[in-house]
Amino acid sequence: MAVGPYGALLDAVRGVRWPARRPVPGGAPGAHQARSRGIAPEFAEYRPYRQGDDPRRLDWKLLARSDKAFIRLAPDHAILGTTFIVDASASMDFRGKWLAAKRLVVALSAVAHAGADPVGLTVAAADGVRRLEPRTRRGVVAETARTLDEVRPAGSAPLAPLVANGAAAARCVVVTDCLGDFDALRAALARHCAQGGESHLLHVVARDEVDPPADAVMATDPEDAACQRPLMALTRDAYLQRFAEFRAEVARQVRADGVSYHEVMDDDATEIVVRRLVAPGLTASSVGARA
């Protein structure tokens, strides 16, 4: 598997598992607990026999003792298709945001692929959407990495339509800085959750956005050349307050919709972020926050 500069990162996340946040719909056998019961050797519960059930699943010994027909049920496991939707707008091309996004996607792809889950990729770039359908075959992680490396963030492309087009009952991971069509994206993720899917929003933030240089600069929005604001001592405090309020509001709204929200700094160690992100039950706090 040619993964280029991601080798060390993949080694660091080897063995990490990414369980689903809730039972997945039944399907092909996989690593995630399914909502359906199967015929696995381990016993789970009995269910009265109904016409049409496979007679081979009858517990004949119980029928002999109680003269009642019960079906022997066992827990079922299924795969969970995972699709990464990556924001490749111009705002992501700032400091280490794009690199952090790529490393996150590659690492999480490897983790998901290690759990036998199909892994897909959708990159919203200025020159069009690049899509890799979810697959489980070998080399999908390398292909994901290669696709991401070929993309250079520019322009602006909406993310919400890409979420809406995804599989309803799958895991959808959106990697973005939330500076684009956030309201539409939030609605799409909420809809995805309501359809039984699992949604993750990885909010990538550059350290220089949280703590910009003290020197007076004319801040220019890379996605909107007309937006030029003087960032200096007079406006710095107001900027810091506004941006902090924005991040807090994004986290609050997204979590209220049932979406897993994680804020990731561009200088955070990716393997640590991944381990905290996949930890079961960790859904609320900022994963990217350093210990």
């Binding site: 956005e209 004319m218 801040a219 220019t220």
Partner: protein, 451 residues
């Protein structure tokens, strides 16, 4: 080039430094930086005070600083430094009959003037002499030179030669007789900003010495005789002839020679009216002689009174009501003095000191008395020299005080023209710059930037 007002130039230098500082500390549009979260920056004036480690727009900075420097230099009264000695000498040489030898005095003046200096002669009037014609002369000399006139002429000469020199040396070649100093001399001397060197010349021989006065009188017991004898014993007498009767042709012929005084003093005695005063005024130094006695007031001869207003006629004494009492008229190289003072036959008024003083004035030479006895001593002339430790006069001070000194030099106009050209070039350079981008010249790029 040097400056007559260097503090103005220093002010220009300070202004140029302020221009450089303004280039370093100025309001400018901050540099642009890509920031995806720019939308969270509040809208504000797109200008900020910034401090640059090194100035940009070096061309504009150089043009502005140079223009300010040139303006400062133009108003600092610049003068060119001409090649020549840094110290130049102004020699004041007295040319009067008080000087023992005019040729010696001029020789000393030639020795001391040096390169680029000036020689000023002063007698009754003063003037600057061309350096190539410093010749001695005998005729037409005043009795005593006027030091005040000499100082004024020396000042003008100094103002002429001051440009190009550092210091000016003032040398006075004079015997320094008392008559050369008048009431204006101390103030004029004080106006010279430096010390003065005095080269003492020998004074002329005492003209008070000569043959005793000859008294031609028809009286056997003339009261004037003992007074003249007493005067001659005390100070000697000039070539004076006192005629108490009618003036003969021989007397007039005798008077034709230089320096001779014919004193026509009628021996007629009218009734004295009362005690009456007469005041005699000496021509040279010394106080007026005032005598109050029962003199007879004699009328001056006809024709002489008519000539009283003539330029050559001089009143030597007046009565206390202002009427002339003694009148001098030139005759050839000598002079005739008509005396209208009737001496009483009784009494000893002629033997008293006030009358002796009056007689001294009446018998002084036609041009006044000069002599070594009236030469100022070194101590009394010390104020002329000033303090030995005081420096020479600054040529800049002299030149700065000269009327129209600034108008003489063309440098200020030239410097101002260059400064104006630089300002025009600065304006053109400022207009030629790109309109956008960071600016440090205080020109706003945009007033307010909004999203």
């Amino acid at each position: 080039m040097t400056f007559l007002a260097p503090w103005v130039f220093m002010a220009g230098v300070a202004a140029a430094m302020a221009v450089v500082a303004l280039h370093l500390l100025t309001t400018r549009r901050p540099p642009a930086m890509r920031l995806p979260t720019a939308r969270f920056v509040p809208v504000a004036e797109a200008r900020a005070v910034a401090r640059a480690s090194r100035p940009t727009d070096l061309l504009l900075l150089a043009l502005r600083a140079l223009a300010v420097l040139l303006i400062g230099a133009a108003f600092a009264r610049p003068v060119r430094e001409a090649a020549g000695p840094s110290v130049r000498t102004v020699v004041m040489v007295e040319r009067s009959r008080a000087v023992g030898s005019d040729s010696v005095a001029m020789a000393r003046a030639r020795e001391m003037v040096g390169e680029g200096g000036a020689v000023v002669e002063f007698g009754a009037v003063a003037r600057e002499l061309p350096l190539d014609s410093l010749d001695a002369r005998d005729a037409g000399l005043a009795t005593v030179g006027s030091l005040s006139a000499g100082l004024i002429a020396a000042r003008r000469a100094a103002e002429r030669i001051a440009p190009g020199a550092d210091s000016l040396r003032l040398v006075l070649v004079s015997p320094l007789v008392a008559g050369s100093v008048d009431a204006a001399t101390p103030a004029l001397r004080a106006s010279w900003p430096g010390r003065m060197e005095i080269v003492r010349m020998a004074a002329a021989e005492d003209t008070a010495r000569g043959t005793p006065a000859r008294l031609v009188t028809p009286l056997d017991d003339d009261p004037l005789a003992p007074a003249l004898d007493r005067l001659g014993a005390l100070r000697g007498a000039h070539d004076v002839r006192v005629v108490r009767g009618a003036v003969s042709a021989a007397d007039s012929a005798w008077t034709q020679e230089r320096g001779r005084v014919l004193l026509v003093w009628p021996a007629r005695f009218d009734e004295p009216v009362a005690a009456i005063g007469v005041i005699a005024f000496p021509q040279g130094a010394g106080a007026a002689a005032t005598v109050v006695a029962p003199f007879a007031r004699l009328a001056l001869p006809q024709g002489v009174a008519a000539a009283a207003n003539a330029a050559s006629t001089r009143i030597l004494a007046r009565w206390n009501d202002g009427v002339p009492a003694v009148q001098q008229t030139p005759l050839g190289a000598g002079c005739i003095r008509h005396v209208g003072i009737g001496i009483p036959l009784a009494g000893d008024i002629t033997l008293r000191a006030p009358f002796a003083r009056l007689l001294d004035v009446l018998t002084e030479p036609c041009d006044g008395r000069i002599g070594a006895a009236l030469v100022l001593t070194d101590s009394s002339a010390a104020w002329l020299e000033g303090d030995d430790a005081s420096p020479l006069a600054s040529a800049r001070v002299i030149a700065a005080a000269a009327p129209g000194a600034g108008a003489v030099s063309r440098l200020p106009a030239l410097l101002l023209t260059i400064a104006l050209a630089l300002l025009l070039a600065e304006h053109a350079a400022r207009r030629a710059r790109p309109a956008a981008g960071a600016r440090q010249d205080g020109t706003p790029a945009t007033g307010k930037v909004t999203a």
